[in-house]
Symmetry: C3
Subunit: 210 residues, 3 copies
């Protein structure tokens, strides 16, 4: 990730990528896949959203020139493979919450990066949503699973909230640090509420009540 992104230290950034990568590796484990598939899923989930964003906005793809990001994803896959299985049995909840934090943080980061590249507000917000959600969508399509897109679970909405607040904050001239904190906290809170109370959006036709 470029060093000019405000208020996300590189170590935190790598931590976020590692968490996304772990969700990919654990899906592969759940599907009883091989180590190679696990590594592929870790990589695609960790860097997929940011890669699509960078291609769309015309930026160099962040991880291709970075000596650390890809090894971190592969390292996550190695840990997921060799760790005792019970590590992951009790951790579904922890991983879901960590994923919520990553989702919120990356949606903000993607929006701000797009705005800095001169992208207008509405596409910039969409770039934030892409950064947060597309890695998981690619992972699910490759796995032949119904992606988060096709489930009523409130997920993309939390990314859209974080991205929108980030765009509003930056365009209103707020300090990047405050914008970061408020937008990411709101996205995380919404996704957290969805996890805690199983919030779902209504489906078309109104068959489902929230």
């Amino acid at each position: 990730m470029p060093s000019d992104m405000p208020a996300l230290p590189p170590a935190l950034d790598l931590l976020g990528i590692a968490i996304f990568a772990l969700t990919g590796a654990l899906l592969a484990a759940r599907l009883r896949q091989t180590f190679v598939t696990m590594a592929f899923f870790a990589l695609v989930t960790g860097v997929g959203g940011g890669s699509v964003r960078d291609l769309l906005i015309g930026a160099p793809v962040f991880w291709v020139r970075d000596p650390l990001v890809a090894p971190v994803c592969l390292g996550v896959a190695i840990v997921a493979w060799i760790a005792p299985r019970r590590w992951w049995e009790g951790s579904g909840n922890l991983i879901e919450w960590a994923d919520a934090a990553g989702l919120a943080a990356y949606s903000v980061l993607g929006t701000i990066k797009a705005l800095r590249f001169g992208v207008p507000p509405v596409p910039a917000i969409l770039m934030g949503v892409v950064t947060g959600c597309v890695g998981g969508i690619i992972r699910d399509v490759l796995a032949g699973q119904p992606s988060i897109l096709m489930r009523p679970e409130l997920y993309v909405t939390a990314a859209a909230l974080a991205a929108s607040l980030a765009a509003v904050g930056i365009l209103a001239g707020l300090s990047p640090a405050i914008t970061w904190a408020v937008a990411a906290a709101a996205g995380f809170a919404l996704r957290g509420a969805a996890i805690r109370w199983s919030l779902a959006l209504p489906s078309y036709g109104g068959a489902r009540q929230v």
Copy 2:
């Protein structure tokens, strides 16, 4: 879309994007999805083909720097969500014909844009086909539906006809306006005939007769 594309006024261009976006939104409605999924499908279907073309030919992705395209797609999703359901019940046929017009127009536009970027004829024709068809293919893959690619229905062929005529016209030095009109009309006529008489291509092995 760049303003140097011949004979497609910006309003018509946005109309074409809106029609493609509507086909995406209505697929989400048919699958009883949420509004967020509907918006995502509207966007992917409206801009997917042109995005892949722009990435492949090395052009800036047309909608990322445009302040109107993404809001139009999102607006289409809002209309699709709030309009009374009976609007869409009677409209399947109309939408199919509108999609045929969009398919023909975008296949021509994509080919001409690629030729202007210095792409040789055969890849340029393929870029036209990509522009017309890939948005719908991505939409179907995300939805877990069999894409137009896997159905014998005559669809990609109409895009290929429009794109080929566009390339021939431009390379033969015909005026862009005439090329546009002839190529798009031919593609539209072929796709229209396919809708009207359920034309399908023969399958490999000859099991199916046209």
Copy 3:
């Protein structure tokens, strides 16, 4: 493909693309698809991996400016369509071995191209794997088939071996020709052994013994 890739003459390069394209066309035939689908699959399989690699490393997409690659893929589809069906019945084995050669060669080629573009070693190896494998993965996702990623069969591993040896050879200063030969031979041998003795990787949880 750029002419500065060592030790892969253009004719061999087109042959490799044609072989990959043929695997795409024959999958379409097996699924009883139309000629248009066959041509689309031939193209996607032939150029998909190299296209994703070029997008990720920021290189011009190799086949878009090339007057020959796309016609070769389309020509392969025509041959696959009109040839008597018994040609392909006896040839499954030959095609699998040819695919193994293409896999090894392209994994090496992709890695070397990425290194020349200044990509660090680990991402460069991944670019090699992408070049060798992603065309087939896109083909399988479009066809709604379980991709090579989701089968325990040893395939991506052979690409990773070839790509890793290529990176080691180049970074150790070995001559490109020797690096090419050793890395591609090792990848081909591993994939060949997997075909010959049905080698598979163990799955997560240890249910499957190699």
